[in-house]
């Protein structure tokens, strides 16, 4: 059974289109490819034995090219398409056992969906579109109006309430689609290529706004896309689909750093790694990390031993106060100073662990002082040297370290 913090769990889900889908599942062991099965039996395997768990509040991106079965998969979750076999659980409840009425309640309250071409009602105003889901479940009056207003505010459509749908640009229309899905307050948002129909510039802007929105609205999101960059940018985890199968599931960095097979490698080859790989995955233990009260001579000794010319200095609470170079430390010692704090250089550059390498790069160009990677409380998590940075951006063989072990594909 799914764990407590699992939101959606798919177990061995199949979807096959054709006259006798069960027979195809029964014979699935014989190793025929999707194409062969189509030619021999006329069945289309859209989703093939897919399993995964999605955690609460996670953005789970399913990425694949057209025909990979990703849109079918997302529709299996709310049963717009009936899966041929397999179980799908939402918060531990088996969706495949639900009758028509239960399913309707589920769609009304727990799952809402955003569509590629928006799926809006052209004969209704913006606010009436947003109110649609509420109206369907019988809500009306002030409460409904407030929910609509809130959703419109969240997507930045305040002031557009009375506009007609066909007066809006594509980006604005998808905001309406998003607001409609948010208004019902469902825990799970299914987004089927929501930004694919938009212009590249608008698309990027919508992605950024979506990330911002996630800061305030916690939801489990299943996000479908054919755009790997979008997947890597938005996803907490990414599942790569090919011919109905999931080839790999992992964090964006795992996907980029440790592609499971040729197919994924080929995919991630052209990914601008600097945008995907974060400082966390290339940072190293600082060679010399000392307390500001420590003896200067000892620190110089440590630096010489380690063969580095920079030492990082923390305060009594473990927060990074600054750093000192070997040269500075020796000068200070010659001047008769004995404590490390007397040689500390308070100005230093730092970044957070999830800063992409592209953004780290300008911070380490000055000289050979490594970039300090701090958490929110200014504790030093590690340092990024210029060498590691350059290697991380070029590497294709996955030399990143310091990662947790993500889920590999089955």
């Amino acid at each position: 059974m799914p764990e407590e913090n699992i939101s959606i769990s798919c177990q061995n889900v199949w979807k096959i289109f054709g006259p006798d889908p069960q027979s195809i599942i029964a014979n699935s062991g014989n190793g025929s490819t999707k194409q062969e099965i189509l030619e021999q039996t006329g069945h289309v395997i859209a989703v093939k034995d897919v399993s995964f768990d999605i955690k609460e509040d996670e953005i789970f991106v399913v990425m694949g090219l057209s025909g990979s079965g990703k849109s079918t998969l997302v529709r299996c979750i709310n049963r717009l398409i009936e899966p041929t076999a397999g179980k799908i659980f939402l918060e531990g409840e088996d969706l495949s056992l639900m009758n028509e009425k239960q399913l309707r309640e589920l769609r009304r309250h727990k799952l809402s969906m955003v569509f590629q071409y928006f799926g809006l009602l052209p004969h209704r105003s913006v606010q009436d579109n947003v109110a649609f889901g509420l109206e369907i479940r019988g809500e009306h009056g002030k409460e409904k109006d407030e929910k609509v207003a809130q959703a419109l505010e969240q997507v930045g459509l305040k002031g557009w309430e009375k506009s007609r749908i066909n007066e809006l640009s594509g980006g604005m229309q998808q905001r309406v689609g998003l607001a409609r899905a948010l208004a019902v307050g469902a825990e799970v948002l299914l987004m089927d290529e929501p930004f694919s129909a938009l212009d590249p510039l608008i698309r990027r802007q919508m992605q950024d706004e979506f990330i911002n929105l996630r800061g305030t609205v916690k939801k489990t999101v299943v996000f479908i896309t054919h755009d790997l960059m979008e997947a890597l940018k938005l996803g907490d985890r990414v599942a790569i689909m090919k011919d109905g199968e999931i080839v790999q599931i992992g964090t964006p960095q795992e996907i980029v750093n440790e592609p499971a097979d040729e197919y994924v490698s080929e995919f991630v080859k052209d990914v601008p790694r600097g945008q995907v790989i974060t400082a966390e995955s290339v940072m190293e233990e600082p060679p010399v990390l000392v307390n500001s009260e420590q003896n200067l001579a000892e620190v110089i000794e440590q630096m010489r031993t380690a063969g580095v010319d920079v030492a990082f200095i923390t305060d009594a609470f473990g927060r990074l106060r600054g750093l000192t170079t070997l040269e500075n430390a020796e000068t200070a010692l010659q001047n008769g100073l004995s404590r490390v704090r007397d040689a500390v250089q308070n100005e230093f550059l730092s970044a957070s662990p999830d800063t992409p390498l592209d953004q780290c790069l300008p911070l380490v160009t000055d000289d050979d002082i490594p970039l300090a990677i701090l958490d929110e409380r200014s504790h030093l998590l590690g340092v990024v040297t210029r060498a590691a940075l350059v290697q991380g951006m070029q590497s294709t063989d996955g030399n990143g370290n310091g990662n947790k072990n993500g889920n590999k594909s089955q």
Binding site: R104, M113, F115, Q116, L121, H123, F132, G133, E135, L190
Partner: protein, 282 residues
């Protein structure tokens, strides 16, 4: 060798027997239909159109035209109806409009639900298609006479015959309209947990409205096309005047009635066309 062999395939005989059987056994049924059509029809004709003073009728029609279409159509309606009255064709025109309005209402009441069923069921669509083809291509004379058998002479069989001819576009275009609703919008509706009825009322019918109105528009035009034919089974109104003009070689009389039909057609066409357009943008 050259002549077709005499197979004596007695379709005509069967039809005659069927008509006789229907007359004998379903009289009560036809009486109910007759009453259901006659009552509203006579009410519209005698208690509305012919009861109201002519200028009130013109004002009402113009107001409707203005509201649904624009002032140009309203002006057209005023001038057109005044012209009809000036030719002395007012009463005939009101009778014809009463027949048409009733026919169109009946056609819509029957046609739209059947169109909805056709859109929902491929099997029903396949089943109704040849029947509709037959209804539209079968010469109207063929069913005019049985219509008299079942419904008597006059306005009621005229409405029935008109409906036979005018229902197909209502069914066809409703079916088409619903089937043309973007599948994604339908999917969106379902994804929010609509019941079948909610889907129909809130998504499919509103989006199919332009098509349905085009169907109503066609229904009206077909009903007008039937006006003259229906006069042959005693339906009063402009059609009868056309027929009288023809039979008496009184070209002028036929022309007056004919031009009145044209005016009514144009006014109704403009109004319903505007109604259809409104559906797309509202």
């Amino acid at each position: 060798m050259w002549d077709f062999p005499e197979l004596n395939f007695p379709i005509g005989e069967w039809v005659n027997r069927a008509v006789a059987w229907l007359t004998d056994n379903l009289e009560a049924f036809f009486d109910v239909i007759t009453t259901a059509i006659r009552e509203p029809l006579v009410w519209i004709k005698n208690d509305v159109l012919l009861w109201l003073p002519w200028w009130v009728v013109i004002i009402i029609v113009a107001a409707i035209a203005w509201k649904i279409a624009n002032w140009k159509v309203a002006l057209l309606a005023v001038l057109g109806l005044f012209f009809i009255g000036a030719m002395g064709r007012w009463d005939d025109t009101m009778t014809t409009i009463a027949i048409m309005v009733t026919s169109v209402i009946v056609s819509v009441i029957i046609g739209v639900p059947l169109g909805i069923i056709s859109a929902k069921s491929d099997r029903f669509e396949a089943f109704q298609r040849p029947i509709l083809d037959m209804m539209q291509t079968m010469p109207a004379f063929v069913y005019l006479v049985p219509a008299v058998f079942f419904f008597g002479l006059g306005l009621v069989p005229a409405v029935v015959a008109t409906c036979i001819y005018a229902i197909p576009p209502a069914i066809r275009l409703t079916n088409l309209g619903i089937r043309q609703v973007s599948p994604e919008v339908v999917e969106a509706g379902r994804s929010f947990g609509t019941t079948g009825m909610q889907l129909l009322l809130k998504i499919q019918l509103p989006l199919a409205l332009p098509n349905i109105m085009a169907g109503v528009n066609q229904t009206i035009m077909m009903a007008l096309a039937m006006v003259v034919l229906c006069s042959m089974i005693g339906a009063a109104g402009l059609g009868l005047e056309v027929l009288r003009g023809m039979n008496n070689l009184d070209v002028g009389r036929g022309f007056e009635a004919g031009i009145s039909i044209v005016i009514v057609a144009i006014i109704l066409d403009r109004i319903t066309a505007a109604l259809g357009k409104k559906g797309t943008t509202a």
